[in-house]
Structures are given as structure tokens and as C-alpha cells.
Amino acid sequence: MSTDPAISLRHVSFSFGRTPVLEDVNFELPPRAAACMIGPNGGGKTTLVRLILGLLTPQQGEIRLFGQLPRRSRLRTGYMPQHLHYDAQFPVTVMDIVLMGRLGHSDSNRWFGWYGRADRAAARKALQQVGMEGFGRRPLASLSGGERQRVLIARALCGDPELLVLDEPTSNVDTLVEARLLDILRELNERMTILMVSHDLGFVSHLVESVVCVNRRVIVHPTSEITGTAIEEIYGGSVRAVHHHGQVFAAEQAHE
């Protein structure tokens, strides 16, 4: 295991054309830490995730994952997107999707040919980790929102990542599934670094040590420090913090 931080950003700035999205972002995440990214819509969360994944390149500053450029450490990173932009009729099964997480990883499938036995074993293991064993043959279209979310986590896990990036893992998921997801993530966190985007601080406060607040600039708070005022500062007053059974939720208010 390397001693480099799992994620490190130094003086990172990014803009689309003339519109600055992120300015002078600095933060580090040590290996096997867990952090949650929060912030208002349009505040730059998605851009920050895409920068960390190496899908975008910053105009200024440097980003390193495990001491390497994001592009070079792609195979050490597992990513769960918020949505699939897929066609509802696309003929794929759960197994087909999870196997995609093995691309670039396996020995049997370097540039030509089909997935091998080791790949299928890894995919079954990943499905088992998210409690979806026996779903391999199901078509994607037949799954519920929570099942789909877990399939996408399994796909991210299938390549044995050291860093797991999750975009809104609890959207479209009921509270029962949420509790289940929390258990899964806590278990995974013993082995890997987890960075997730979430509005649901109640969900993440049990798991993460730090909260990365993104609104053009980035401020990192330890979870214990997160209070109503902190959230109001981050969301710029457009949000009120809700204390509920001792947990803090960030609820977005409509701009009217």
C-alpha cells in the first residue's frame, strides 16, 4: 500500500469558457478515509468529481490519485454514476453490466476477446458483496431503483478499486435500502477510500470523517463540526439545515 494520499488537489481551478466553476481548490484524502461532498446544485460538485476521475483536466493546479495523474490511476478507481443514460430497451443483464467493471483489468481480456472465468468469478463476488447474488441473469429493465444502484456499485467494485467514487448513492432509494447501503459501504471502507456526493448528510454522517463542501471554493470540515450554521454558509442561505433525531440534513429550498 502506498503512503501517498488517495486524493490530493493543489490549487486546482477550472472554468467552462469564461465561467469559473472551481477556484483554488485544495484538499487531501488519506487512504481508507471516507468523505462526503456536499454543496448546492451548480456549485461544482459534478465538475470536481469529473476532474478527480480524469474526465476533465484542470486549467490550473494539480490533481493526484495515489501520487499519479487521474488518467493513470483509472484502473485503481471505481466509479458509480448517479444515472445511467441508457436506453430502456438495451439488451443487457445485470451480469453484463457488472462485467464491464473488469474491462482493462483481467488477463484474459487485454484488448481482444471475451471475458474469462476469473472475470465472471469477480463479478459474482461483487454482486454478492452488495447482496445481489442470484440477480446475474435479470435484465436491467426489470430492476427497481435500489437494485440498479447496487448493480452500479457492484460494477464499480468488480475491478478491485482502491478508491470508490459514488455520485448520489441514495437517490431513488428508500430508507430500508439506504441502511443496507450504509452497511455495505462501511464494510468496503475498511479496504478502500470512499468519496461520495450526497445531499443526505443524515445518511453519510455515520460513515464519513469529513465533509467536503463545494460551492466554487472548497472547504473541508470534520463531520463532528457540521452544524446548521456551517451548512447555511456552504449553501449560501438557499438551504436550511434540518435537525432531525439528532441528525443533520441539508434541505434545499426552492428559489421562487
Binding site: L53, G54, L55, R74, L75, T77, Y79, P81, L84, H85, Y86, D87, Q89, F90, P91, V92, T93, D96, I97, L99, M100, G101, L103, G104, H105, N109, F112, G113, W114, Y115, R137, P139, R155, G159
Partner: protein, 284 residues
């Protein structure tokens, strides 16, 4: 039907056997590539590539007739034009910031215009259009059969050999990229496979109609398949049935082969779609 089979067995009816063999060979390429085209939703790009083939055929015929370059077969011209068009259209669709469809339509029309212009320049070629536009399955020679077989084998090898990556690129391009797949390269490979399949099909149904055979069997198969490779297998089977019945009918009734084949494919698609809707409505 029996009459047709007897006719196929007649020694002097080699053209009938060649037509059937080429029809069946192209079914395999159609099933594989058609499934990619339908699921990746790039039928429009495929149609543009197919029309650009006219430019290549025109240029090759011109070189062959006007400058007496005997080796310059229209089939080579078609292949070169299709691959070039695939590359051009692929680059436009990958890098165009806006109005991708405008540029692609322009490429489509320019390809056709080049073809028409070369036909005009070619001396003594009176009716060049109908074979190319509507297919000429009865004029297939033994050499054509080998050429088609070779291309078919290439499409089969690449289309199935890169299956995991092409599936990932069609289903979720961003994720494929994050897994280190060279997404743009594989996308261009897919367009190249479309180009080869288009060339195979020019003989069978012609440029105007081939997009129907590239999409309808795969779309019909989509109702029966849970996985992409199953869709490919079922689409191949449908193609075999559609093309064989098209050839049989057109031989027996003296119908034009291309239009008959496409009408059969369209009828089957409509029927399957309606039945499947009704079935889902019934079970829901």
C-alpha cells in the same frame, strides 16, 4: 417452394446459388453490426455511410471505363468510399461541437453527388443507377462470392472479438473510458464495421434500401433478446429468413428482390411489435 429448390439445384442456375450464398453470408454481418447500430442508436450515421458508397462506385467505374484500369472494380471503390465516409462521419460525430447532423447530412449528399457526377462522366454507361440503388443480386459472380465471404469473416472476427468493449462503448461510453477503453478508437472501429457491412449489402438490396436490412431485423430481434449477443443471433436468423424468402419470392414471381425483401422485413417488424405490445398489455 419445391420448384424453387429444384431450380437452385439445376447446374445452369449458378446465379441463384450465388445469390443465396451471398444473402446468407451477409446475414451474419447484418445480425452483428445491425444490433450494434440499433442499440447505439446510430442508424442515421449508417444511412449516411451507405449513401457515400455511391461516390466510390462512380469513381471506380469512371477509372475502369474511361482510363481502362481493369483492376479498379466498383466493389473496391465502394469499400474505399464506405471506410472513408465512416472515418469522416465518425470524426464529425466525435468532435463536432454543434450541428453534427447538418455536417453529416452534407457528407451524405456530397457522396451521392460525387457518384452521380462520375456516372455522367463515364462513357457508354447507360443505366448505371438501378443496380447500385436497388441491388443486383442476380448478377453476382463467383469472384464476388469470395470477396463477400472474406469481408464477412472480417466483420465476424472484429465484431465478436471486440464484443466486450463495443458493448461497453454502446451501453455506457463514460464508464468504458474510465476503465481505460479507448472509446473513440472503438467507436471508429464500429463505424468501420458498418462500412464493410454496407458494402456487402449493396449487391443484395442496393444503397437506397440497405438501411432497412441493417436495422429492421435487429429491431425485431430486440423483442426476443435479453443480451446483446442473443440479439445478434436472433437478428442473423431473421435476416436469413427475410433474405431467403425475398429471393424465393422474387424468383418465383419475377418481383424485384430488394424491395420484396425489405417489405417482408418491415412486415415482420410491425407484426412482432404489435403482438409484443398486446402481450405486455395483456400480462400487465
Amino acid at each position: 417452394m419445391n420448384e424453387f429448390l429444384n431450380a437452385v439445384a439445376e447446374p445452369e442456375n449458378a446465379f441463384l446459388r450465388y445469390a443465396l450464398v451471398v444473402g446468407l453470408l451477409s446475414s451474419v454481418a447484418l445480425g452483428i453490426v445491425g444490433s450494434y447500430v440499433v442499440t447505439r442508436r446510430i442508424t442515421y450515421l449508417a444511412a449516411a455511410i451507405s449513401h457515400c458508397v455511391l461516390g466510390g462506385i462512380g469513381a471506380a467505374l469512371y477509372l475502369q471505363r474511361r482510363w481502362e484500369l481493369a483492376w479498379c472494380d466498383p466493389m473496391y471503390g465502394a469499400t474505399a468510399a464506405a471506410l472513408l465516409a465512416a472515418l469522416l462521419i465518425g470524426l464529425v460525430s466525435l468532435y463536432a461541437r454543434q450541428r453534427e447532423d447538418t455536417v453529416i447530412s452534407a457528407v451524405w449528399a456530397v457522396g451521392v453527388a460525387i457518384g452521380l457526377f462520375f456516372f455522367y462522366l463515364t462513357p457508354g454507361y447507360t443505366d448505371p443507377m438501378s443496380y447500385v440503388l436497388y441491388g443486383s443480386i442476380w448478377l453476382i459472380s463467383r469472384r464476388d462470392v469470395w470477396l463477400v465471404a472474406g469481408m464477412d469473416a472480417l466483420v465476424l472476427l472484429l465484431g465478436l472479438g471486440f464484443y466486450p468493449k463495443l458493448l461497453a462503448v454502446c451501453f455506457d461510453q463514460e464508464f468504458a473510458e474510465l476503465r481505460g477503453v479507448r472509446v473513440k478508437l472503438h467507436y471508429l472501429l464500429l463505424l468501420g464495421l458498418i462500412a464493410l457491412t454496407v458494402v456487402l449489402l449493396v449487391r443484395v438490396v442496393g444503397i437506397l434500401l440497405l438501411i432497412a436490412l441493417l436495422t429492421l431485423p435487429a429491431a425485431t430481434a430486440g423483442h426476443f433478446a435479453r443480451r446483446l449477443w442473443q440479439m445478434m443471433a436472433v437478428a442473423t436468423l431473421f435476416c436469413v429468413v427475410f433474405i431467403a424468402s425475398g429471393i424465393t419470392l422474387s424468383y418465383a414471381q419475377n418481383f424485384p428482390t430488394g424491395p420484396v425483401t425489405v417489405l417482408i422485413a418491415a412486415g415482420a417488424y410491425l407484426l412482432v411489435t404489435v403482438i409484443s405490445r398486446a402481450w405486455r398489455h395483456h400480462t400487465a
